[in-house]
Amino acid sequence: MSQTVAKLIDTTLCIGCKACEVACQEWNDQEFTLGTFGGTYQTMPSLASNFWNLIKFNEIERDGQLSWLMSKYQCMHCADAGCMRACPAPGAIVRLENGTVDFAHDNCIGCGYCITGCPFDVPRLSPVTKKVYKCTLCSDRTAVGLTPACIKTCPTNCLTFGSRDELLRMAESRAEELKSDGHKDAGVYNPEGVGGTNVLYVLKESSNPQLYGLPKDPQIPWTVALWKGPVKWLGTAVMLGGILGTFFHFIRYGPKDHD
């Protein structure tokens, strides 16, 4: 039984070198498609089906000074994953023993329901293959004991990979350290609404994760929860009830003979 693994992102240590973006593209053998230039230092405005890891240069103004709040945008590998809830194809989204949420493209039918189920807006439909892609937490590396490519390449120790429990402890103590350094709002981002994530952040401004492009209280959308819960029972009741009801109606009352 392997333990749950996680990725820790200490946003205070990110220098925006984007080496993790390059490593991700390299390891996953993806071509880079030029995006639009939005006047920022960011490589792309958002993720793409062939671009799974984006360093965000979130610009904020503090005391008249421009400042960057760096963050890393990728699949969060939620404990209660909205994509898995929404997916209709058996085996298309799987949870590995180490907690990774991985897409099995042989089984993906390209409906895109996972895109709607995801509270972090991560999966992207490829117009070429008509299948959905996202960060795999380098499941092909972790399976043989290697660390994910982004972590391997990070030059500042901003990224750490390992046992989730251990990383949570590390994250907490790093947040305490930041607090004692005067960053009173420092904290750990591990949203409870999705049962916690296997990607953890240390944020200097943890009460405002939106500043980092992270949702404040991510949940599986309520329409998705309804659709995959009560609506299913309702549908089953209507369809089974309709078939059985008409059958027994016939048995009880018989046909409307006109003679």
């Binding site: 390209g110 309709g242 078939i243 016939f250 009352y253 006109h258």
Partner: protein, 207 residues
Amino acid sequence: MDQKITTRIPRFSAAERITHWMAALCFLYTALTGLSMWSRKLFWIATIFGGGETVRALHPWGGLLFSAALGIMFLRWRKRMAVDADDIAWLKQSHKYATNVKEGLPEVGEFNGGQKMLFWMQTVFTLLLLVTGAVLWFPSEMPSALRLGAVLLHPLAAIGSIGGIIVHIYMGTAAVPGALRSMTRGYVSEEWAAAHHPKWLRQIPKS
């Protein structure tokens, strides 16, 4: 019902029958493939129809064709499906119809209140399915708010539509002998018309 029909009363024209069965076949395909993408437990239906990717690609086209056939039926029948006071009275007494009690029901015209309800139900549900289906068809192009609404409304409309059709199939086959022939061969017997649609029978000019 098996006795020889002496007087054939035409009920549905060839064009109406072809449109109806076009809609029926498209409905069958779209409903079954839709169910296969509704629940992982029903995914085996997708296997029958050529696999998940095929079903994902063709289900929207099936829905478009169904909507087109239903659109034709709507244009053709909407006036004849107008609900009048007799229909309302009939619908209020429909529990008698459902339990085969003949007394106390108003006389029925070309279509009874139940048939008219089905017509308008399917019109509304199909419109809903068409709009929400267009949203689900192109997930990358559609804003999240629309998709979040569509994932809920699309199955709800489908459940209503399938529920209505289950009753429709039962009424058109086992429950009312002679009804199916009106939609396959196009005619009914005089006795059938007198029993089920007397007001309509009187309106038909005697040849």
